[in-house]
């Protein structure tokens, strides 16, 4: 794939390295001459000095034939505009924007950016996972469907331990997909599966049903 990365900062650098290692053709656009030079020296001539929001720059680097554009500068507004220019003027099939302010996620989606990566939320999710008392952890967003993959831990004290799945009053839009037992064995649950203490239940649900789901699974 031909991928254009806008922004050669830390995120851009590691991203480019990873994409190159996977065998993609990558071009980095970076405004600072010094960063540009450093990137070219280390990764080969892959960086061009320029402003990724400038339509002329984008056209010079062949944005029209690119398969993907990823905007990872430190400024949300620059990432937004770069992606919009790429999408509407150069018809790039997939545009990805990094977001620093979590509040901008909805705005970007409304304005037609295909994928947004929110640093802050990712860090939050990772921390959630590491906090053992946290009863519901987000694993993945299935954005275009408005669904998400979450994990719920069943504590020993839960009064749902020993109950069958069909005895639980789960929210209608939630589907139990997998149970990982204490023994680390993953099983596909059926309506007759008994919940056990220390089970980790992987569920497809919606954001709105999270609380109801947690309550149903843990008997709260």
């Amino acid at each position: 794939m031909y991928i254009i990365v806008v922004g050669g900062g830390r995120v851009g650098y590691y991203l480019t390295k990873a994409l190159l290692a996977e065998g993609h053709e990558v071009l980095v656009l970076e405004r600072s001459a010094a960063i540009c030079e450093a990137l070219n020296e280390e990764l080969g001539s892959i960086c061009i000095r320029g402003d990724g929001c400038e339509t002329t720059t984008l056209s010079e680097v062949g944005t029209g034939r690119s398969d993907m554009l990823i905007a990872v500068t430190g400024d949300d507004e620059d990432n937004l505009v770069t992606c919009q220019v790429a999408k509407h003027l150069f018809h790039v099939p997939r545009t990805i924007a990094r977001i620093r302010n979590p509040k901008n996620e909805d705005i970007f989606k409304k304005l037609g950016i295909d994928v947004t990566i929110n640093n802050t939320n990712i860090i939050l999710e990772n921390i959630e996972e590491e906090v053992p008392t946290h009863s519901l952890t987000h694993l993945h967003d299935i954005r275009d469907k408005g669904l998400e993959l979450v994990q719920v831990r069943i504590p020993e004290s839960a009064n749902t331990v020993g109950k069958m799945i069909k005895q639980l009053e789960l929210p209608k839009d939630s589907v139990l997909s997998l149970i990982i037992r204490k023994s680390r064995r993953p099983i596909v649950p059926s309506s007759n599966t008994f919940l056990q203490a220390e089970d980790q239940v992987i569920v497809v649900t919606s954001h709105e049903s999270e609380d109801e789901l947690r309550a149903a699974l843990r008997g709260e």
Binding site: E54, T55, T56, E77, Q84, N101
Partner: protein
């Protein structure tokens, strides 16, 4: 009319004064309080410190009841983003955006923003000035 202006530079500050003296209710935003020195003395509108691409700041500026929103910061992209927020999230009836880059102006005009490029306009004015029939330069005195 209730107007929210983002960016208290020379244009923003001046526009705020003009609109206010016409009797409009003006709120002007800037992320640097030093910029408010550009407001005319006796300005009775609201000057609000904050980043205009932040939803909460825009709400505080009263964008939900605003009849018009104008973005005139130095950053084209900031202007574009805030205007799109004003138009598509808060449904402000009249949104005007300054975009220096003529190509970006054309694009976002196509995408539904009312956008003005001072670059294009000023270049045109200069051309008209220069190409207008003007008094000829006096012939230099012939050297003997």
């Amino acid at each position: 009319m209730k107007v929210v202006i983002m960016g208290c530079g020379r244009v923003g500050g001046r526009l705020a004064g003009l609109l206010e003296s016409d009797g409009h209710e003006v709120t002007i935003l800037d992320n640097d309080s030093y910029s408010f020195r550009r407001l005319p003395p006796g300005f009775r509108g609201t000057a609000l410190l904050g980043n205009g691409i932040d939803l909460d700041v825009l709400r505080r500026a009263g964008i939900e009841e605003a009849d018009a929103f104008v973005a005139v910061t130095q950053g084209d992209n900031r202007n574009v983003m805030s205007c799109q927020i004003a138009k598509h999230i808060f449904n402000v009836p009249r949104v005007v955006c300054r975009i220096y880059d003529p190509l970006r102006r054309d694009l976002f005009e196509d995408l539904g923003l009312e956008a003005i490029s001072p670059t294009t306009i000023f270049a045109q004015i200069l051309r008209e000035k220069l190409e207008a029939p003007e008094p000829q330069r006096e012939a230099p005195a012939e050297e003997s």
